[in-house]
Amino acid sequence: MPALKKLSRQIGGLVITLWIASLVIFLLIEAAPGDAASIMLGTNAAPDTVAALRSELGLDRPLLWRYAGWLGGVLSGDLGTSYTYGVPVAGLIADRLAVTVPLTLIATLLSILISLPLGVWAANRPNGPVDTLASLFSQVGIAVPNFWIGLLLILGVALGLGWLTPGGFPGWQAGIGAAFEALILPSIALAVPQSAVLTRVTRAAVIEVTNEDFVRTARAKGLSRGRALWRHTVPNALLPVVTMLGLQIPFLISGAVLVENVFTLPGIGTLAYQALSQRDLIVVQNVVLMFTLIVMVVNLIVDALYTVLDPRLRGRV
């Protein structure tokens, strides 16, 4: 089966790139100044205490050993123990993902909901008022930093109008409503630049497909402009939109780090950032690997979406 063969080849590629990434991450962290033991015990610790902890942590073992140990741990779900929090890194990351994953998903959903109708509408009447508005929105939206939008939202909506909370996260145990409420403004901040990019791509793709012969065939069948647009043009214009969605993933993750910081959300971005400032390098190391994994898996999903959207790609190896 060609589809299965393709998938296994893709997963093979993913494993190899992930392995290279893990090697790079490990070596960079290894080269970083300061080791775990002295960070954990503070600067005034006695040298022999430090040495004892070093051997306990396995830091005195050779480089290759430690790399193998980390990799083995990653595969078995044991990511080690955080230097500063003293808890397993895996649990720490899982807790934080429970904030970041919903945040990025809501933002993505929001950006699709904004950009798809706007882009299609703009393309339907090129140079009309909606098109002008859409191109203005996409030019400005791409240029505006999302963390600044976050600050403006806090200033205008939370402090100014008194709606929603200016930051913080009550946790999912506080109820879905409360948790969701805390994610609304951050999601909007994250979604604006996304939708600016997507609007632009959608508009261009729809305009290109509108001129295809099969749209004319559809019109010759007696379909109205609107129906031909939504039934024939838009489905065939989605491919570049999905491509762009995939390409935006790294930016979405970067954006999440910043936006979580603005709204003091306990997400994975905040974790990475705090771990860095506290030199909790084992957390940094694992979080970065995690990010890489997410980016690559999402790219794989995007690739799979292609074949759903374009039947011509099915069965092609």
Partner: protein, 272 residues
Amino acid sequence: MKRFPISLILGGLITGALIGAALLSRVWTPADPTAMNILNRLKGPGEAGLLGADQIGRDVFSIIMAGAWTSLGIAMTATLLGGAIGTLIGVSAAAKGGVFERLAMAINGVLFSFPPILSAILLGALMGPGALTSITAIGVFMIPVFARVSRGAALQIWSRDFVQAARMAGKGPALITLQHILPNISAQIIVQLAIQTGLGILSEAGLSFLGMGVAPPTPSWGRMLADAQTFLSSAPHLVLAPGLAIALAVLGLNLLGDGLRDLTDPRRRQAS
């Protein structure tokens, strides 16, 4: 979007003003951007200087001007370095093909999954925050972007008749790349340089906002925003000015890039 004159002119003007402000800040600013004046603390626009004063009474307008130098300097250096390396990889991949091309593009894929903030977190662990960290983190992300664009553009030129003719004439891939490929893809590279410098400014602002960019007291737009966060309700002007500066700078470079693209893209030129 048939906007060639407007976007090019507007983009050129904004970018020109940005570069002008950055250069001017080296020799003159309304006030010393690092000089504290506690009496002016958090004063609004007009009360102290054109754009007010910050939490320790420094003149915001002067910091914005000096910040242009920082932003533009880091973004341009990173883009030029990443652009040069990426273009080199891209055109070599197009010229060599085969295993080298696949390997180069695979490495690209890995690099592309490291957005600037992620690399900065890694590099920050290695060498601490600073201009070098920012430049490296942003530059690394530029490599795959330019490699992709230049490879695609180069492959197109490679399939043209005149390149085939040069090949028949016995010229090697390196010489052909130098004589035919690079001159013909330079327009696309320049367009990318403009647009990516804009993205670089955005990334730099993000890094300084997180405290992973240039160290104080070097003025930086991102850190201005981070500082302003504390005084959000008491001094909103501190949030507005740097954000607008970033947005305007990126907008200008994007418009410039779009305008240049409309001007140089042969397909669009035919259409008009």
